[in-house]
């Protein structure tokens, strides 16, 4: 990939973590993490549950302080309330005060900022105008999520933190929110987004930071992250290849095989070469499918077995080369996102 990993690296970072460590009792939630985010970036933080994503956001929003290292938001300590005038974030959907009306919650949060978006305008933008007079306890899950993202934007922030913004939403509701996030980003806003919903990060983020066990495993553009894995998944039906070891024996470029009945699923960094050899070999097959890996698979490969492979360096240069995809690979990702 010729695209630079950090397009706006020359600008002073709007969020900066330097050597940040945070423990909870014996658990190291973040271990010497350094991260810089420039104004205008849309960064997705990916990691399994307990990887340290939420801890990272709580440090940036000033809710917690690091045990060591420094966190800066717009050049200031986020524990200083003044630094947070340019910060927007979402409450978790379950946390809205149930007895307050939608309009009141927006007024309440907007009232903390010097120049809030007018409440009716914001509610219209998120399609919540009709619900303005309803108590938040009576909203559906999707409506609450929309309100939560609207609250992140009410203060006209220059950076927003979104923690799992569309978890549990249906396709339409998710598209509406994604559009709102894209619009905000297009107007120059910086977005830091966490999700274990990989499709979401894949749909929105330009840059991906993979966090696992408190450490940054990878930090690069979306395309580069996908490229780092670089393997293609091939599915076909063939009685001739269903025997154990049959594929590996004939096709050395294949890194991993799973067989069930006559269905063969395999991963290879060189799908073109594999198909060419398959055709000339004369082996009978049908139902051939080839596609690139999803972020989900890339991600799984990065966090699956940290002991087996060196960590990818945070600077963006992959320590695992595209063709050197690990031979030991966990079971293929669940079907979520495969249709993309």
């Amino acid at each position: 990939m010729s695209q630079p990993a950090h397009p706006a690296r020359s600008a002073p970072p709007i969020i900066e973590l330097s050597g940040v460590t945070r423990r909870f009792g014996p658990v190291v939630a973040l271990d010497d993490v350094s991260l810089q985010i420039a104004p205008g970036e849309l960064v997705g933080i990916l990691g399994p549950n307990g990887a340290g994503k939420s801890t990272l956001l709580s440090l940036v929003s000033g809710q917690r302080k690091p045990d060591s290292g420094t966190v800066r938001l717009c050049g200031l300590d986020p524990r200083d309330a003044a630094a947070r005038t340019s910060l927007g974030l979402t409450p978790q959907e379950t946390g809205l005060p149930a007895t307050l009306k939608v309009r009141e919650v927006v007024d309440y949060i907007g009232g903390h900022y010097p120049d809030p978006v007018p409440t009716s305008e914001l509610l219209e933008q998120f399609g919540l105008g009709e619900l303005a007079g309803r108590q938040t306890g009576g909203m559906s899950g999707g409506q609450k999520r929309r309100l939560a993202v609207a609250l992140a934007l009410v203060g006209r922030p220059s950076v927003i933190l979104l923690d799992e913004p569309t978890t549990g939403l249906d396709v339409n509701a998710r598209q509406v929110l994604w559009q709102a996030i894209r619009d905000y980003h297009a107007s120059g806003g910086t977005v830091l987004l966490t999700s274990h919903y990989l499709e979401e990060v894949q749909a929105l983020a330009e840059r991906v930071v993979v966090v696992d066990q408190g450490v940054v495993r990878a930090d690069d553009t979306m395309d580069a992250i996908l490229e780092q894995v670089g393997v293609r998944r091939v599915v076909l039906h063939s009685a001739g290849l269903a025997a154990p070891g049959a594929v590996e024996a004939r096709f050395p470029q294949v890194t991993r095989v799973q067989v069930s009945g006559d269905r063969v699923e395999l991963f290879t960094p060189d799908a073109d070469g594999f198909v060419r050899e398959l055709v000339v070999s004369g082996i009978d097959f049908h139902g051939l499918e080839v596609r690139g890996t999803t972020l989900e698979e890339a991600f799984e490969q990065m966090v699956a077995a940290p002991a087996d492979r060196p960590a990818l360096s945070p600077s963006g240069s992959p320590a695992v080369s595209p063709t050197g995809a690990p031979a030991v690979r966990p079971a293929p990702a669940p079907a979520r996102g495969e249709q993309r």
């Binding site: 000033g62 809710q63 309330a81 946390g95 309440y108 949060i109």
Partner: protein, 258 residues
Amino acid sequence: MTTTQPRTLSTAHLTRLHLKYQFLETVRVPMAVFGNLLFPALSMFFFVVPQPYVADDPVASTMAVASLGLFAICSASLFTYGLGVAEDRALPFDPFLRSMPAGPAPRMLARVLNGGIFSLFGIVPLVLIGWLFTAATVTWAQLALGIVVLLVVSVPFVLLGMGIGYSLPAKAALPVVQLVLFPLAFAGGLFMPPQFFPDWLSVVSQATPTRAGRDLLVGALTGADVYAGAWPVLLGWTAFFAALTVWAYRRDEGRRFR
């Protein structure tokens, strides 16, 4: 981004904001409000109104109204703020509010002011019952002074409640509140007039915030003499509970798991 130093809005503006929405959140749950009104009102009917030697004595019944009124305030403050803050902290909206561009002062001030407002609500039925069913009597000036003293006296209890709420999880806050409330109320003479206390308890009693508050309130309503240590004791506890609250708030980072 601008190069000017960002600043939060004024504490007065933010306090008004939090006061308004904290108040709305509470009054939308009518039982929370009525519960606080009901207990002292029922106590008046059970323990004061049927006893002619209290109910027919203007001073004794005024003192009874003052004592139960103060108990209503202690209980409302400790439960609402001790348990309420502990429960709020466990909700995801609390860390969200803490991430707003505002320091802790506006929320705390708003809570104290709300404590005062709901204290006044709690007093209304007591005053009505005292006026209609007993010989309790006050002048308008005494009543006004009594209300001001009552609001001042409520401050240390709101602060104690918040100190407990920010220090402990909700499940621990509940027994602690009960452990604190009843001994304090008893030793402060809110259930039984302190004239009946043995000597040692009289001495202990005068060092409690409840006794200081009770005597100041009785003094304001009846013109009775108040012991000299009452103000220093009340203000001392207020300062101590304020320090406890600030300490607990700073140390709090939401829920903790070990």
